[in-house]
Structure formats: C-alpha cells, structure tokens
C-alpha cells in the first residue's frame, strides 16, 4: 500500500512539473531551484522570490548544536521532499502546512550573525568580522529597540508565503530552547506592473540598478583583511522603513518623480526613456533634469570615487496594520549586501542624509549582520569555520 501511495505521489509530482513547464509559469522549474551548497549562501544574488520573512534570534543555549541543527533543517527545507515519518505516538515531525511532500518552491535560507554574537558569550570576541558593529542611529531614525539587532538573522525567501511560514516554524521548532525569536517581519515582492522591476509601495520600480554577480568579488563578498573563516560571506544591512504613504499620495507626480529621479510609470531615469537607460549626470551638472538631491543621484552619483560604495539591494515591501493616528503601517524592508559596512551602506546612507525622500520615511528598526560563508558540502554546517 505504501508503494502504491508513493507511486501516486510520484505521478502527481511529474504532473506538477509538466504543468509548471508551460510558458509563463515559474513554479517548480527545476533549473531555478537555488543550490543549497556552495561557496556563498543562496538568497544574496539569487533573483528575489516573491515572499520573505526576516527573523532575528538571540542565542540562549549552545551555539554549535544550534547551527548544526539549523543547517540540517535548511538543507532539507530548501531541497524539499517527504518529511520522515516519526512514530505514530509522537506529534508529527512536520507541521503539515505544505502538505505531505515539502516543495522546494525556490526557498532560500540565508543565515547572518550580528555583532552581539561576538560579545564573549561564545568565546568569539577575537573572530569578529572587521567592520561588523551594532547599527547606530541615523538622522530621521525613530528606532524601537524591540525591532533592532539580534545574534542571528534568518532571511527566508520563497515564491509562496506558506513556504516561508513553514520554514520559519520548522526551524524555530527544531532549535527551540537554544534560539529565541527576537522579532520577525514578513515582506512581499510585487509582480511586475506591468513589466520590468517590481514596484515598492510608493509606486516606483525598486531594484532597477544593482551590482551584478560578476562584481561580487569587488563589491559584495568579504575582502582583504577579514578573518579567514569569513571568506565567501557578506555584510548584510537590514532596515525596517515605514512609509508615510498618505502624505506621499498628497504630493504631485512631478514632485514625486523629482524626489526619486525616475519616472513613476516606466521607471526610466528622468533623462531617459526606458527603465534600463543609464542616467547621465555629467550631462546635467546642475541637476536641471535629474535634481542633484534626487534619491538615485545621491544614492549612486556614478562617479569613479563613489563606484566602490555600490551595494546589492534586495528589498521587500511590507503591509501590516495601522500606526497611531489611523494611517496605514506600510513600508519597505530594506536589505542590502556589501563587502564593507563603512564603505557600502554607511557611505550611501550619509549621502542620503539630505534626501527629500526622508520626509516620507521613518526607519524604526533593523541591524547590521554578517552573512556566513556558504555551506560547501553535506558534511559542512553554517559557521563551522567560525567555530573552528
């Protein structure tokens, strides 16, 4: 009977793949399942999946077994398959949210460590990545300590929200007693409207200009001077940014476009026509077409001196309840990867200090983290080189 059931499942799976192979569907395409093993973690240059949760944990038990368990769970969850059946007398091993066979669903689980992990509790004080610090306060921030920092950060992304939820719940269960959830926030990536890069909740395409994977060695992956164990890792910045969407909607389109520096409809820079046109700031030294303080111009002035401050943004929208006063609580989960926190995020953020966009934003949380090197083999686990 078991055999029969398996056969049915197999046939169902084959059927699903056949359906998924139809033009226009992304789901289940075998070749775009991000690989779990490799020198770098998946979820960094991986094309963004539709859903994500960012979950910070504090380590309250022993670190090593927690990271080993985390690895085992992540390896299974990102590969998918049938969860092992436990004894019928015990509660089921899997929470069942994804049905009897766990689909991979392009799931990635990216594990990062915060500065607090190196505070001495785990004997790691001497092994801290070079530029990893606790995130400070920037002008305009209204940080809520409940939404900041953490020993570990998990970025869990998949095409469907149930897959993301299933993974977080599975991991929290497997590490219960040693990892304590500190905060978590779910985000989504909109579908292309109507084409090109997905839009954020200000209505603008977000993610158009980003470094490409070939630039990883110069811009994204841990570089010279880092401890040996860190090779292949990357600094990650997380910022929870509330948007004053009501206020934004009361601003004229011309002003919105001047604030961002791009057209709202097409995503083109104001001096171009198509989304992927490159802005030409040399042609416009006094900012008459793209204002000098447009968000894209401050964020990336495209000069030789600022080229190495470019960062890889991997943002998600969030949309959750209300703020006092009755406005929508909606915004952006800003997530960015870079080789050096000072040279990357902080340099950009400093340039954005006078960004007119800030009036419509209120950062309320986040933190600095270091995404661990990839898990390279079946025997390897997250942080093996770090813990020695």
């Amino acid at each position: 009977m078991t055999v029969n059931r398996r056969d049915v499942l197999k046939r169902l799976t084959v059927g699903a793949v056949a359906v998924a192979a139809l033009p226009g569907t992304q789901l289940g395409k075998k070749d775009d399942t991000p690989s779990f093993h490799g020198p770098h973690q998946a979820g960094i240059f991986t094309p963004s999946q539709r859903n994500a949760v960012f979950a910070a944990f504090d380590v309250v038990g022993s670190l090593r077994p927690a990271l080993q368990t985390l690895t085992t769970r992540a390896r299974f969850l990102t590969t998918g398959g049938e969860p092992p059946a436990g004894p019928i007398t015990a509660p089921p091993a899997d929470n069942g949210v994804l049905g009897p066979v766990v689909p991979a669903d392009r799931l990635t689980i990216t594990v990062s460590v915060g500065a607090s992990l190196f505070d001495g509790r785990f004997g790691l004080a001497a092994r801290k990545p070079l530029t990893l610090t606790t995130m400070g306060v920037f002008p305009g921030d209204a940080l809520d300590p409940a939404w900041c920092h953490g020993d570990l950060l998990l970025q869990i992304c998949a095409d469907n929200p149930d897959t993301v939820h299933h993974a977080l719940r599975d991991i929290a269960r497997a590490t219960r007693g040693s990892l304590l959830l500190r905060y978590r926030r779910a985000g989504f990536l909109s579908p292309p409207r109507p084409a090109g890069t997905p839009r954020n909740l200000l209505g603008f395409k977000d993610g158009t200009s980003n470094p490409v994977e070939a630039e990883g060695a110069e811009l994204i992956w841990a570089g010279a001077g880092e401890p040996d164990w860190a090779a292949g890792g990357s600094y990650q910045v997380l910022r929870f940014i509330r948007m004053h969407t009501e206020f934004w909607d009361r601003v004229s389109l011309a002003e919105q476009e001047a604030i961002i520096g791009r057209r709202r409809d097409s995503g083109a820079p104001l001096d171009g026509v198509r989304e992927l046109d490159q802005p030409d700031y040399e042609r416009d030294p006094s900012g008459v077409v793209i204002p000098l303080d447009a968000h894209i111009r401050l964020a990336n002035p495209r000069t030789a001196e600022t080229a190495n401050s470019r960062i890889l943004r991997r943002p998600y929208n969030y949309d959750d309840g209300m703020v006092p006063g009755g406005d929508l609580d909606a915004g952006l989960i800003f997530c960015a990867y870079q080789q050096d926190l000072r040279r990357g995020f902080e340099a950009v953020q400093k340039r954005l200090a006078e960004d007119p966009l800030n009036d419509y934003l209120r950062p309320f949380g986040g933190g600095y983290f270091f995404a661990l090197p990839g898990v390279t083999s079946k025997e390897d686990w997250y942080g093996r080189a770090l813990l020695g």
């Binding site: 002008p139 305009g140 057209r263 030409d280 006094s286 303080d293 007119p356 009036d359």
Partner: protein, 396 residues
C-alpha cells in the same frame, strides 16, 4: 525635522495659458492619433533623449522648463511642451550640434518647418508619425535651446494660470512679516519662561513653556524651514545617538523634557537662554531665513502634514502631552498661510479656500472635544493638498 522638501523651480511644470511659445505653432492636419497627457510626456522624453544622444557629450543642460500652452484651433485644447537650455563649450560645438540634429531629424523623415541657418539659427521639424515638433536654436555662441512640443491635446482638466514670480515674492514678504510678529511674541514668551524657570514654581514654568511652544508652532516652521534656527529652537531627540540624553539635544523640547522629568528648574536656565538667543538671531536674519517663495505653496499642507507625522504619533511629546494643543496652533498657522495666498487661490479655484476654512474649523472643534481628530485631520489634508499645484510659478 532636518529634511528639506525639494524646490521644484528647475524641473517644474508650469502652465502658460497665454500665447503659446515660439515652438508651439499651429498643429499639422495629419490624421495622427492624439496621445493622452502621460503618453505625450513620455514622447517628449523620447524626442529629447534621442536628440541629446545625437550631439556631443560636452554639451550640458543648464535649464529645463515644461509648459502647457493653449491652442486656438480647436479651442479648449493644449499643447504640452518642454524646453531645455544647453551650454556648448564653444560656438562651433553649438553649430555642429545644430547640423547633427538637422541630419538626424531629416534622416528620420521629419518634415522641416523652419530652417534659418547662421548666427541666430533656428531649426524646427515635425514628426509626421505623431505630429510632435522638435527644434533646436542657437541663441548665442554658448547657448542652445532644444524644444519639444506635442500637438494640441484635449486634457481631462483645465490648466490654471501660473502665478507670477512677483506675486509669489509678495506672499513671501507678507509671510515674513507674519513670522516677525509671531517671533516678537515668542521673545516675550521666552522672557516669561526664563523668569519662571529662575523661580521655584514648576507648574508656572510648565505653563510658560507651553505658551512659548505654541507660539513657536504658530510660525508654521514645517519641513526644516528656518533650518538650523528651527533645529536649535525645537529640535527633537530622535536621530541623535544618545536620544534624550544626547548633549546636542537642546531647545524647547529639551526644556519640556526637563520640566516633566523632575529636572531641577535652575538647570534648565541655560537652555532657556540659548533659545532666547536663537529667537533673536532668527528675528534678525528673517529676510534670508524665510523659506524661498517657491516653497511656500507647499507649506499650505505641510504644516499639518507635520502635525500628523509628529504630533499625532507622539513623536514630539517629551512629557507634556500637548500634542492636541500644538495641533490647534498648527491650524492657526495653516489658516494664516492660506489667507496670505487668498486672492491667488480664489482666482484659480474659488471654492477651495472656503472649503478649507470650513474643514479647518471642523478640525479645531474635533481637537477641542477630542473626537474624530484623525478623520478631520485627514480630510483637511486631502483638501489642502490641492493648493500647491494651483500656486506654481512660471519658470522664466
């Protein structure tokens, strides 16, 4: 409140209902599909970008103005156009650009409308596929003007007459006088606060603080207007590394914090004196420190946008719980500003100001009875957001 909302003069879209500009000539009879306004704007970008690609990279933009001009035939239609001033490094470079564009546009099959060569050259072409006109003229050795205009379009709204720069300047002048009066009052309030803080009656000091704070709110200093002065007078602790304990946290909010957190009155004295100095300095510097005329229309809704973002969320509350009282002061400031623009608004949309005043009155009542404040505030803001677009100036 250190941020600046941008000044749109350079990139502003202004409406010229009067005679259409040099390049907005009568449309061709070509039976081309008439685009919608967004399509027309996207096409303008396309013609501009295409032209710019055809000329030397050493030629730089110096000004950009977009206008809407009324067409006479058929009446009630409008042509959207954009002009870009460009600076070539030399007269020869400018002439070469004109030649390059003549080649480009004729090569694309555009019809020549005007082609005056030489010193004061003027070249105008029309794309028969769309009826759009694109032209370049060399006005001086180092001055080129690229212009793109749409055929006559029906718009889903009637464009309003732009405000003249001198009209805006006189509103600024009047606002400056209004602020001067409020600051004179503030000077007296701060003196009273000083003597209260020098005494030993905390309740009296708190009341004196509230009076001074509300007077300052009546200035309407939204959006980082009055820059460093405003930061010194009522800067907030958020964004400072050590928050309320930061050494740079000073001004009226810091005094409020001390008054409501059992700090000895005497320790607040230097803070009060510093505020007094800043008020005097700002009063003396008003002609320079008053926001630019082009920014003032935005303040019509921004003062209450600030109330929503700061007072309504409790972010400015350092213990006094005066958010609602402060919002009422913001209503005063908004009404004052609205009336400074009175005739300009009334000429353009007569129903707006009475509606705004009624809504502000309703909000004032809601504040007084502490009911429906959020709903009324939201309603007022949606109305006030109509104002800035009616008050833009021509860019010339």
């Amino acid at each position: 409140m250190v941020n600046f909302r941008i000044t749109l003069l350079a990139a502003a879209t202004v409406v010229v209902v009067a005679a259409a500009g040099a390049f907005v000539l009568a449309p061709s009879e070509a039976a081309t599909p008439v685009p919608t306004e967004p399509e027309a704007r996207a096409l303008i970008d396309k013609y501009r970008t295409d032209a710019i690609k055809a000329i030397s990279r050493d030629i730089r933009y110096t000004e950009a103005i977009s206008t809407i001009g009324a067409c006479t035939d058929p009446p009630g239609t409008y042509s959207i156009s954009a002009r870009y001033s460009l600076m070539p490094p030399s007269a020869t470079a400018g002439a070469a650009a004109v030649d390059a564009l003549r080649k480009r546009w004729t090569g694309l099959g555009y019809d020549l409308v005007t082609d005056v060569p030489g010193q004061n050259s003027q070249l105008l072409t029309e794309d028969p596929a769309t009826g759009f006109r694109v032209g370049i003229s060399q006005r001086a050795a180092s001055y080129l003007r690229l212009a793109v205009s749409s055929p006559c379009l029906a718009l889903p709204y009637t464009p309003t007459t732009p405000v003249l720069p001198e009209e805006q300047a006189s509103v600024r002048e009047a606002y400056q006088q209004y602020v001067a009066g409020v600051l004179d009052q503030l000077t007296r309030d701060v003196t009273a606060l000083r003597s209260a803080v020098a005494g030993s009656d905390r309740a009296k000091a708190r009341a004196a603080w509230l009076t001074a704070q509300l007077t300052w709110d009546r200035v309407g200093a939204a959006y980082g207007s009055f820059g460093a002065y405003a930061d010194a007078i009522d800067g907030l602790p958020q964004g400072l590394p050590a928050g309320v304990r930061d050494k740079d946290f000073a001004g009226l909010r810091r005094i409020e914090y001390g008054l409501w957190h059992s700090e000895a009155l005497g320790t607040l004295l230097p803070l009060v004196e510093a505020v007094g100095k800043q008020v005097t300095a700002l009063r003396g510097d008003l002609p320079g420190a008053t926001p630019a005329a082009v920014d003032l229309p935005l303040r019509v809704h921004e003062i209450l946008e600030d109330a929503l973002r700061f007072h309504r969320t409790g972010r400015t509350d350092m213990g006094a719980g005066a958010g609602l009282a402060e919002m009422a002061a913001d209503v005063d400031a908004t009404e004052a500003l609205l009336d400074l623009f009175g005739s300009l608004l009334d000429e353009r949309r007569p129903e707006l100001r009475p509606a705004a005043h009624a809504a502000l009155e309703k909000l004032r009542h809601a504040i007084a009875v502490r009911r429906d404040v959020d709903a009324d505030l939201g309603g007022v803001l949606e109305l006030l957001a109509q104002a800035p677009g009616l008050l833009e100036v021509t860019g010339s």
